[in-house]
């Protein structure tokens, strides 16, 4: 069953569905996810390979530190988990 996130039904429709530029941040797409990445910070070496590979810019990084995931947009593709050299990211089923 697909969960419909009520929050994303927030902006009105333009004729034919055209969208203004730079508005994709308003459309939170994390609701599709069936697995979520979870970080074990003890294993993480801040190599940034996950950050390089994430197709959705959902790896949260500050001052050279990998801090976790932006679940508003992460679609649970598991790429970060697969490329992580220290197996610091595990995929947990969404309930």
């Amino acid at each position: 069953m697909l969960k419909v996130d009520k929050e994303i039904v927030s902006f009105s429709i333009n004729p034919g569905g055209y969208a203004k530029g730079g508005t994709s941040l308003e459309n939170k797409t994390g609701g599709w996810r069936s697995f979520r990445p979870v970080l074990n910070k003890e294993k993480c070496v801040n190599c940034m390979i996950c950050w390089l590979n994430c197709p959705d810019d959902s790896i949260v990084v500050k001052d050279g530190q990998m801090l976790g995931f932006d679940y508003d947009y992460c679609k649970g593709c598991s790429l970060c988990s697969n490329v992580c050299p220290t197996k610091a990211i595990s995929m947990v089923p969404e309930v």
């Binding site: 697909l2 419909v4 996130d5 994303i8 039904v9 429709i13 333009n14 004729p15 034919g16 569905g17 055209y18 969208a19 203004k20 530029g21 730079g22």
Partner: protein
């Protein structure tokens, strides 16, 4: 037709086929882009227009494509870029376009497309019926039908004004009968170019993907959270088009003296039996109605000019005296109780608690001639049905039972 109103517009009477009448409006409107692929019996429309382009009479970008799917795709792309864009097709071409037909309307692009109505294969048949147009009737296009080349000309002019209205922004299909109208020369009163250009006005696109100062993306993807609303939004636009069509017809009448209506009634005021018909056959039925009136029969005919939106309330106003409706369908819906026009009318009658007998008369499939004799036979069947209280019958007019298997 002029009904006493003196036209302010100067008119030149020309001998034109229905196809040429459509091309004539295209010349006068001079759209930015035309993309098309030849198909019988539509070909002479685009052929004629291609000549205008080649002769430098119009400054239109003419795109020759490899199929109808590509033709309408190119037109959709042009319309998304803020261009006034047109195409034309028939039958298998429209069938091949179908995917993009739905996209054009749901992206709310006010494209004007001429459809020269032709039967759908198989067997291969190039002659007239309405099966092609009926297959797109629920896709959100405004659909106008034309009895003759003159109506093709008028319908094409108003089509721009209706579809491009900001309350509407929907594509418009202008239908005419294959060969019967498209290839038959009649006298057509053509307005001066400046009138048509002014009446249609400057094109204002619903949006423009090439406007770099206001970047947008179009042709979006929508999740279950949004898709439903888009469909309802399109339906509401179609509902609003009713008022827009009324206004455009009124304005057209004031300027030209030419009256147009959603349904055009002939001798229905006291009629007990009313025929309902679309496109060229209306003339044949009117002729027979006149003959029957001479014999004192209370009979009339309603011609459907605006098929989508189908405003059943307007239809009901015209049949107050009717006891029997003879719906004439030039298409056969297979697997249900009646064909498209019959379904539209019967559901409207039922929902409005209007108790009247109705039969569905299927005629003219694949270009089968429908003569005055056929219309008279149909009347006799309708008269008998009224007398015996028969309703809900599907009747095939002009069918040869000897050719049928079991």
């Amino acid at each position: 037709m002029s009904d006493g109103v003196v036209s302010k517009v100067s008119v030149l009477r020309k001998a034109l086929t229905g196809a040429q009448a459509a091309a004539e409006v295209m010349r006068q409107v001079e759209p930015d882009v035309v993309a098309a692929y030849p198909i019988t019996p539509q070909t002479p429309i685009v052929q004629e227009f291609a000549q205008f382009v080649a002769d430098g009479i119009v400054n239109t970008e003419m795109i020759q494509v490899e199929s109808e799917h590509s033709a309408l795709s190119a037109v959709v792309g042009a319309a998304m870029s803020g261009a006034r864009a047109m195409t034309a097709t028939s039958s298998q071409g429209l069938a091949l376009m179908w995917e993009i037909v739905a996209i054009a309307s749901s992206m709310r692009l006010p494209i004007v497309m001429n459809i020269v109505n032709r039967a759908i294969s198989a067997p291969l048949n190039i002659h007239c019926d309405h099966s092609d147009a009926m297959a797109i009737r629920d896709l959100g296009w405004i659909m106008l039908f034309s009895e003759n080349p003159q109506e093709v000309y008028h319908n094409n002019i108003v089509a721009f004004k209706i579809g491009e209205h900001p309350d509407v922004f929907l594509p418009v299909a202008v239908n005419q009968d294959g060969f019967i109208t498209s290839h038959c020369v009649e006298a057509v009163d053509v307005f001066e170019d400046s009138f048509v250009k002014n009446f249609v006005g400057e094109y204002k696109a619903p949006y423009n993907i090439l406007d770099f100062d206001n970047p947008i993306s179009a042709g979006e993807w929508a999740m279950p959270s949004h898709y439903f609303e888009f469909r309802v939004d399109m339906k509401k636009a179609m509902d609003r088009s009713v008022g827009v069509i009324e206004k455009v017809f009124e304005e057209f009448y004031k300027e030209t003296g030419v009256k147009m209506d959603f349904f055009e009634a002939y001798k229905t005021e006291d009629a007990e039996i009313v025929f309902v018909v679309m496109n060229s056959t209306a003339g044949t039925v009117r002729y027979v109605v006149d003959k029957l009136r001479e014999k004192g029969k209370k009979v009339g005919v309603i011609k459907v000019r605006v098929y989508r939106p189908f405003v059943v309330e307007k239809f009901l106003e015209l049949i107050s005296s009717a006891k029997f409706i003879a719906v004439m369908d030039r298409a056969l819906s297979i697997g249900t109780t009646g064909s498209p026009l019959y379904q539209d009318i019967t559901s409207g009658l039922f929902a409005n608690k209007r108790n009247v007998l109705v039969n569905d008369y299927i005629y003219g499939l694949g270009g089968r001639d429908f003569t005055d004799d056929d219309a008279y036979e149909m009347y006799k069947h309708a008269e008998y049905s009224l007398k015996e209280g028969i309703s809900g019958q599907i009747v095939y007019v002009g069918l040869n039972p000897n050719l049928l298997g079991r």
